[in-house]
Symmetry: C2
Subunit: 207 residues, 2 copies
């Protein structure tokens, strides 16, 4: 590699790093000030960057919001979906997924709790590509839960009478309810309660 | 009553009516733009009033936010707590409360769903009197559910093994989860699913 190619590559790598730093901060701020409350000015101030420096990466507020949703999705993958995928499909994976979600909350990866729970209520009444991105995430999460309920039924871990979509709604609601209570009270015992509820609900069917 | 007293009273009644109109609109807007997104300017424009006309009723943004939380509480009382109080304490009251909440959502009294579910996530990471008001509401709701679970256990409607706070968390989470899914999808079948989950969870204990 000649020195000019090296310089171009370094510039590109630096640019990607800066973009990643901006987005991580954007995801954090969005859980406190809202996705719509996110301004390039606030973001720049919080990162001690110039507004034009942030602006160079995102041409518009909507572009910034969409990239922030993607970043939140990346964080959720790393902290929740990937640990869950390490467990056997069925009940073990549902327990691991819930557990990873509660750990994600307790560790305060994002200061205002689950990005998507907040964004769903904030953007739910505002049609557009940002809402669509949030909806896609929620559907994927519910689909993952539903699939594992189905596997659990096939394996006899759950009763064949369980309605898959209903139980998936129930599990998803416990995750969402735990987030709301934890954000409001800051008391980790609520996460223990939520873990207990999930464990009991997914306990082996008594036949 | 002489005519001057009559005029004073009319002015006061008009003032109260205007204040009530402003607050109702504030509660509606807050479920779409957020409680913090609520500005006296936006509110005035939405009501075709002058900014100074709105400002005369609320000296500061925090005063407006606190009065809006009170108004949301009044709406919740009328649409959820009061119908619930008409049912027998215990399981019947828990079912009525949940049902009234789902009806409140489905009727779109507030365009962005449950005021308190949204406000909890929006204000949860921002300490202050507005957050305190939202927290007080959530605690009262959970206390109401807990009390009725206790009565249900005493009456043999639920198993004595049920932990009251845990079951209250569970029921509250189903309400919160239903709100999130309904706001995001706008599909009332999710409210039917939520009703079924509550009914099943509170079904008579098999002993």
């Amino acid at each position: 590699m000649d020195s000019r190619e090296g310089a171009v590559r370094r510039t590109r790598v630096d640019g990607e790093r800066t973009r990643a730093t901006i987005l991580r901060r954007a995801a954090e701020l969005a859980t406190v000030s809202g996705l719509d409350g996110l301004t390039i000015g606030e973001l720049a101030a919080s990162l001690r960057m110039s507004k034009s420096g942030v602006y160079a990466h995102f041409g518009s507020k909507e572009e910034l919001q969409l990239a922030t949703v993607e970043e939140a999705r990346r964080i959720f993958d790393v902290e929740v979906f990937e640990p869950a995928a390490g467990a056997e499909a069925g009940v073990p994976r549902l327990l691991r997924l819930s557990d990873a979600f509660f750990t994600h909350l307790q560790g305060r990866t994002l200061p205002g709790g689950c990005f998507f729970a907040g964004a769903a209520l904030e953007m739910g009444s505002r049609p557009g590509p940002v809402k669509e991105g949030i909806l896609r995430f929620q559907e994927e999460l519910v689909d993952t839960i539903t699939t594992n309920v189905r596997v659990a039924k096939e394996r006899g871990e759950l009763s064949r009478d369980e309605d898959e979509r209903t139980l998936a709604f129930e599990v998803n609601s416990i995750l969402i309810g735990a987030n709301t209570s934890f954000v409001l009270r800051g008391d980790p015992t609520v996460l223990q309660t939520a873990r207990a509820v999930i464990a009991r609900r997914l306990a082996p069917a008594v036949t």
